[in-house]
């Protein structure tokens, strides 16, 4: 029988029923719900207990003051009885600087320290674009860091004062025009290069002038011959500048106004200084190259497309160590005789290419995830290819790919330890080997790896948290 029904009034929305929440309820539901779960919970608890029971004494018996591994062991046995084991952190206490700087001369330690602090000052305007509060926090942190570490490292007064003035100036600028801080980010690579390797102050300035020349040629020529040819002409002029005029101009200026830092050779770099230099440079340059490769792979132009595909597939198909050996050995054969291409630079170039190939595929995934309608809407509004890419397509594609991009970055940073294979002093193998070659620390095993591992973890975990923050910040789809 059909029942007729008419609603006389609409129901108001009600809050959902309050579910009971409590530790006991949670445990019963999650840990002890079935006999199998009870068994697994007990087993899990036992495994955790055994792990702690095995490792805890070693941590508790840590020794921080000793001059050799033997002395460490004596102290442990004296404190905890014969046969007891304990960590010997005294080694870290004595050799920490090699893990951080390699053989960088101690009086010059302030230079990598300063470069590291300024790295964050340069990154902040990119990572927290226009966000006054976060910028102020980061720059304030850098200021405190620099005051403390530069004082401890005994930095000369002039650079000490200059860098503090710089950071205070940036703090002030962050309050008024945070966008302008990006200028420092642009200048930072040259500054960092000069701080770390030293030499004449003119070489980074003249090198950066190459970019200014590139831009000037591009701006002057683009109304006359169009965008792409103007960009090509700019690049040609800049390359000529770098290859043929750079050195002459530097020597000339150095003759007039001699000013510079003590030169430090690449073989004195080591430890985390090396890992971070390679990692940060690789990350910075692999992203734009990866984007271009991903776009190239989707291009309609046959040559661009096949070059991109060829590059990506070749680099991805070869182990990184092969590329590193190429960097250290083979590249010399292909370059004109007499060119001495710095080994760190060579390694950076190949690590960058390696990461770029992976990034290209990651970004291609992001591009493929965008609905065709986005391309069509951009076209229909009359945006040209590059504007459509820059304003519509890439912001969305990159946002989709953030987790995978950051994974690639983390992978790249950890892969920097592989430079040990071409004789560079990476923190994990290179420095540890040097430490263990010392008769005092022969046989030390866990401690250096734990120390290096913790630092790697902190840096990689930081990147991972930042990527999650960025994903939340950019979430605008409200799905």
């Amino acid at each position: 029988m059909a029942e007729s029904f008419t609603r006389s009034e609409m129901l108001p929305p009600l809050p959902p029923p309050v579910t009971e929440r409590g530790a006991i309820k949670w445990m019963r539901e999650n840990l002890f719900s079935t006999p199998l779960n009870i068994a697994l919970t007990v087993l899990g608890a036992l495994v955790v207990y055994w792990l702690i029971a095995a490792a805890l004494p070693w941590w508790l018996n840590s020794v921080w003051n000793a001059s050799s591994l033997g002395e460490c062991r004596q102290i442990v046995e004296a404190n905890a009885g014969p046969g007891a084991t304990g960590a010997c952190w005294a080694m870290i206490r004595e050799r920490w600087h090699q893990f951080l700087f390699g053989f960088y001369p101690p009086p010059e330690w302030w230079r990598p320290i300063l470069a590291f602090g300024l790295l964050f000052a340069a990154l902040a305007p990119v990572l927290f674009a226009g966000q006054k509060r976060n910028l102020t926090i980061v720059l304030g942190g850098v200021l405190v860091y620099l005051v403390v570490t530069l004082y401890l490292a005994g930095a000369p007064a002039l650079p000490f004062a200059l860098s503090l003035v710089l950071i205070v100036g940036m703090l002030a600028l962050a309050q008024i025009q945070p966008g302008r801080l990006l200028w420092f980010t642009l200048l930072y690579p040259a500054l960092c290069f000069w701080l770390l390797w030293g030499g004449s102050v003119w070489s980074p300035i003249v090198a950066m002038a190459g970019f200014a020349i590139l831009y000037a040629v591009f701006r002057l020529a683009s109304p006359l011959i169009g965008l792409a040819p103007a960009a090509g002409a700019g690049i040609v002029v800049a390359v000529v500048w770098w290859l043929y005029l750079d050195k002459t101009v530097v020597d000339l200026l150095q003759g007039v106004l001699p000013f510079g830092l003590q030169s430090i050779n690449s073989d004195q770099f080591g430890g985390f200084l090396l890992a971070i230099v390679i990692g940060v440079t690789g990350i910075t340059f692999s992203l734009p190259i990866g984007i271009l490769l991903a776009l190239g792979r989707q291009s309609d132009m046959l040559i661009v497309k096949s070059l991109s595909v060829g590059f990506i597939e070749f680099v991805r198909g070869v182990p990184l160590i092969t590329l590193l050996f190429t960097a250290s050995l083979l590249l010399q054969y292909f370059l004109p005789p007499g060119t001495n291409f710095d080994i760190i630079l060579r390694v950076i170039i190949l690590v960058t290419f390696f990461a770029a190939a992976y990034l290209a595929e990651v970004i291609r995934g992001g591009l493929a995830a965008l609905p065709r309608g986005q391309y069509e809407a951009a076209d229909a509004l009359g945006l040209d290819y590059w504007r459509a890419q820059r304003l519509i397509i890439l912001p969305q594609a990159l946002k989709i790919s953030i987790p995978a991009i950051v994974s690639t970055f983390i992978g790249l940073f950890k892969d920097t330890t592989l430079v040990a294979f071409v004789g560079l002093m990476d923190p994990l193998k290179g420095v540890t080997q040097i430490v263990r070659a010392d008769i005092n620390w022969k046989g030390i095993y866990w401690e250096p790896y734990i120390f290096v591992g913790v630092i790697f973890f902190v840096i990689c975990f930081g990147m991972s948290r930042y990527s999650m923050y960025l994903e939340r910040k950019l979430k605008t789809d409200h799905r």
């Binding site: 309608g373 069509e376 229909a380 509004l381 009359g382 945006l383 040209d384 504007r387 969305q396 789809d477």
Partner: protein
Amino acid sequence: MAEAAKMQVSDEVAIQITNMNKWYGQFHVLRDINMTVNRGERIVICGPSGSGKSTLIRCINRLEEHQQGQIIVDGTELTNDLKNIDKVRSEVGMVFQHFNLFPHLTILENLTLAPIWVRKVPKKEAEETAMYFLSKVKIPEQAHKYPGQLSGGQQQRVAIARSLCMKPRIMLFDEPTSALDPEMIKEVLDTMIQLAQEGMTMICVTHEMGFAQAVANRVIFMDQGQIVEQNEPKEFFSNPKSDRTKLFLSQILGH
């Protein structure tokens, strides 16, 4: 009201399509299309799915490439010349079935992006224009939200406003109401009717026959990539000539 609007049709030709053919691979999707649209004319294209009606209007702003024949939009012929394509695209607005708003930008940014980057309009002026058109589609209060926060009907009205911000001389509508709930169709159609009354040259692919009767000067019926019949709406609906048209009309009006 609609009659008054029809008075504004001029003799000036806005779009001229002559002997146009298009293939997808081996498939002959548009066959010998000939069509002239005068300035101020409002044309509704209907037909069964797969008849090539969307492809036809997508050829008009070169989202699809035609292989034979000639398409002249506002005196500019569509060829492989990118400059001509960009010129035509900035004169021709397009509204899509799935809105295609940019989800990473606010409504206001969606509206100002093309005027700022293509027309080089100063930001402030572009924002004023955007707010004007948002008021016109009756959602100025949504300017700072993201597309994902709006209903389908609101998104489609934003999409119409986005096209209008480029001050187009011709508007193309590709099934603008097909992805909407019935309750939202009206608000979008109202916006389109208002636009028609202001004398905009419009080509709409739609199944909204009420809309066709209210504002169209001409209804074009397509099947199998060809124009089967075209006539003014009264005649088209009351007295269709071809059997294929009769069958189609009985199917969409029959329930």
